[in-house]
Assembly symmetry: C2
Homo-oligomer: 338 residues x 2
Amino acid sequence: MSEEVSLSLDEVRRLSIDVLEAGGLSPDHAKAIAAVVYAGQRDECHSHGVYRLLGCVRSVKEGKVNPNAVPDVVDHAAAVVRVNAHYGFSPLAFERGRPLLIEKARKLGLAAMAINNCYHFSALWPEVEAIAAEGLVALAMTPSHSWVAPAGGTKPVFGTNPIAFAWPRPDGPPFVFDFATSAIARGEIELHRRAGKSIPTGWAIDSEGNPTTDPTAAMAGAMLTFGGHKGSALSAMIELMAGPLIGDMTSAESMAFDEGVGAAPCHGELILAFDPKVFLGADAAQHVARAETMFDAIVGQGARLPSQRRYEARERSERQGVRIPKVLYDDLKALLPR
Amino acid sequence: MSEEVSLSLDEVRRLSIDVLEAGGLSPDHAKAIAAVVYAGQRDECHSHGVYRLLGCVRSVKEGKVNPNAVPDVVDHAAAVVRVNAHYGFSPLAFERGRPLLIEKARKLGLAAMAINNCYHFSALWPEVEAIAAEGLVALAMTPSHSWVAPAGGTKPVFGTNPIAFAWPRPDGPPFVFDFATSAIARGEIELHRRAGKSIPTGWAIDSEGNPTTDPTAAMAGAMLTFGGHKGSALSAMIELMAGPLIGDMTSAESMAFDEGVGAAPCHGELILAFDPKVFLGADAAQHVARAETMFDAIVGQGARLPSQRRYEARERSERQGVRIPKVLYDDLKALLPR
């Protein structure tokens, strides 16, 4: 087993802020990014934990991301908040726009936030969870880079296009899911390639459009969506809603914009918030209880709710801190000033 | 080949209205239901065509559905329309609420319509298409009856829970999808059972929770969602959004409410509408053109857009009318007054 380093959650946050500030991110960006990296590490989503700091700092060095961008929050329409991230990372833009999104949803019943011109490297669940923490239902989606072929096609059009949803629960953390509409994360194919392993069928096709189990052929060809033509339709919806509808790039456009640098995707994000209190008025508690009955029916038969594993990890981390590979820790330490 | 009858589209509409009125539906309900049955037959969605009239009339006879219900449209909140269908069929409720939904979306940027206490037998695509015809983006979802097990489970919790989406296109019909989040329609399993055929793995499990290819065991067990845990998460979202969020029944509650009659599911429906003109202002045409570039990239590689087959059928039907089995035609004629 490879060597590991134990860190308290406070140390995770401190280390993240220090690495980001040393990497040139403004204190506001460093704090906002550290918060999502912290959440990822705490919940044992390792690919979205402190590991991501390396890519963040690299993206800044490559000159694509503006490390000092100040997001502009615009009260665009009665039910629409727009945030121009000015080619900075997304977490600060989300944080800055969130209060107005929530205010609008509480007033109107529902509202949308469009984040434009942002670089995205983080998962969507911290965002929908933050909205659910205010008692609202949240739905978020974003395109990425065009690596995924449409159903029946052979060439990439869609991104891995994640969609995330949160439903607040009266006792304990919300019901949350966050999944890519590709069959698998792109990183998984890369991991198989490095390990010299073949990939399962259904993940990808080669550049001729034939099913492949060869990760190198898959990387040169196209990934597939999950769930066949249904997943493909959903992925198209995400392209449209979090692209043209909000005046931002599709995954193909974002990929072209990247010019082969391989930075985090630059694009838009759409977040919807719904206030059950407005929908339901005095009956809200009664209907929320009916949702709990459904959750009980799922958990009661031994199935898991989508975020259950993550919440178990969270409890563990809050009790005993986290462990990260020493190699990663040393790589991060090397980014700090001497 | 079994005998068929040719009908013009006008004859389809006339026959539908006559059968429904003879079955006791009010003229307003008959007209609204006939419009969606007409659309289904025209687009060669045979299971949602005139065949559905038989089930409609049966549901009224069984005494579950109110054939004279007058839907109440309530301006519930700034961005929320509620329609109480008063236990009538859904199409009239949708029609009555739609103008206010569209008005709100145009004013605010987006809006929601919650239809409550309605009996649903129709597809969702005619509804999202009707909203897209006004230049708006639409998303609709509804639970059904609890026939579908959650991922990792063995007992039914979810309905077949369809979700539909429409994106208006400048030239020609909108981009539309409408799919069940179950692996397959329940009717498909029943068709296999009647034909004495086995079903593919991945459609259902038996009452012990084991994969089955036996349609009878599947009907007694549980259907599966499409796309594994991702489809299951999406199905849960539909339960929550078009159930408790709008103060209506989950699929399990709707099934219990049915008391074994086997009528169309009684429940709620959530429809969201987004106005690209509000989101995009003067830049709307430019961004809509970017969506077209994406559609071109899909169609240009020989893949199909979700509703392409349906639109081809529509053109055909508008040119030459439709053909229905004579047996079905005779069954419908038998419902008319002598």
